[in-house]
Amino acid sequence: MAYMTLKDIDVRYDKKKQVLKGLDLEVKEGELVSLLGPSGCGKTTTLRVVAGFIEPESGVFSLDGEDLTKVPVHKRNFGIVFQSYALFPHLSVYDNVAFGLKMRKLDKGQIEQKVKNILEICGLSEFEKRFPQQMSGGQRQRVALARALVIEPKLLLLDEPLSNLDAKLRINMRMEIKRIQKKLGITTLFVTHDQEECFSISDKVAVMNQGVIEQFDTPENIYQRPKTEFVARFIGFENFLSLKKEGNVYKTEAGAVFTVETVKDGDFVAGTIRPEDIRIAGEKEDHNVLSGTVGVRTFLGKSYQYEVLTAEGKFLVSRPAEEVYEEGSTIRLYLPESKLILVNK
């Protein structure tokens, strides 16, 4: 059963461009769901609708069966971690974290106990007297997380929380966020444009494109079975060929025949395949074959990567380092039906 639901959300800024177009999303209790998509696709806007900073033009946001679309931000009880962290510079770490509890008028003893507990969980116990500007990026990040979590929020919202950290710290912090999120069992929305970060941290991923969610699935399914060409390209597929359905098989414009494991709705689709799944065709293979000319060869250590120019465009092919094909030679590529993925265009 869904815990958090966004239903048919429309948002436009300044009555002009529509930024979210009938967006739907359902999140189960305790799940960590990522919104993944290129810059400007509406991830932050979606998060701000959930947070209550933006009231959608139409549509409903509900949590635990309760319609919260018109409830003001300060009554929602959601923890938000901002991209900028938004720590209060005039307050110490302790007072930053205690802020939400003071607003809830808890007594001093309770506040102290809760703040110390969350600082401990976030590994900040020794910093409680420091001020934000005396801390490193990673430490500030933890303070922002602790401040959002200490109010025991019904939802945790994070907008590209790791984008200001260097690469190594980013990997540490995302494990840390995952650990704390699982420990507290808190339902979480996580915005990112980094697919590796997203796959490593999420229970489920919503891939967004121009204000709609193109695919909502587990990281594994998105990686192995992207549904649309946009999703496939966004997660790193580069080889595409246009196919037209004819009975149970597909044909390219030039007439090459391709078989697949499961046919897809629609007559015109695209086929895609990862470079390492392409093989060199033997004598007997007469379908799922593309012939082409070897272009630029790049040595990658364990393997060579070739650009192969075919009638369907450029294909990247990765072959073991023991096999070498010279530039300019003609080869036949075999795209096994078990690896060829069909996506909607």
């Binding site: 009554k75 929602r76 209060f88 607003m103 401040r147």
Partner: protein, 277 residues
Amino acid sequence: MKKRSAFVMIIPGLVILAVCLFLPLLRVLIPSLHTGEYPLSAYVTFFQDEYYRKIFVRTVKVACLTTGFCMVLGVPTAYFISRCSKKWRGILLSVSIFPMMTNSVIRSFAWINILGSNGLINRLLITAGIVEKPLKLLYTDFAIIIGSVYLFLPLMIVTVAGVMENIGDDMMEAALSLGADRIRAFMKVIFPMSLPGIIVGGILVFTGTLTAYTTPQLLGGNKNMVLSTFIYQRAMTVGDWDGAAVISLIMIVVTLAVIKGFNSLAARLDKRGGDHA
């Protein structure tokens, strides 16, 4: 090396200040310390005189109330302006400094027209049947305060808006997300973060009001004198230059004390950068 060349560069400024400001000032003020039977006796006499004391208290009261009203009115206005788009911010700031661009005599006459016994407010009150006889609004402390607030509010708004512009929207949003309503978020986050600007604005308004001459002269009249109008009267009407010097030094001391007071208040309220061991 760097420090020395920087020092060389401030020499011309220092010389001008010394020759044109400090020397004449000292020449006026130092003798005032020795006039009378014993050192500082002129000052003791000043505070023993009830009439003088009344002027002193009125001056400080007017300056304090003006500063207070400018803060209460100016800080929320400044926040509103700082949240507007860049274009609107420019427009609103120009509108708010408009009073500063008119001559202070004309500005005061406008207030005389509004506050006078035959003025706008009294005519409205009488027409509406709220009062029978015109109220005495002009030539009161109240009139001086209104005129000074009108005069110095822009200074407060511009100073505070300048500081608030640098506070991101995310501060307010973070406070809201933590359960504060807008007013509490403003009081607990935006206000303390803008304190440096509010303090500077407060000092400017306070010293401005304390030293203003035209406004209290025209709106307070001769019965409601403040120190600045009193100095003029002593020196120009009575020819008592020693008395004028005494009042001047008192004003300087009050100004310095208030600046010091504001700054230590700021230090108390803002513990950042202190000792965190």
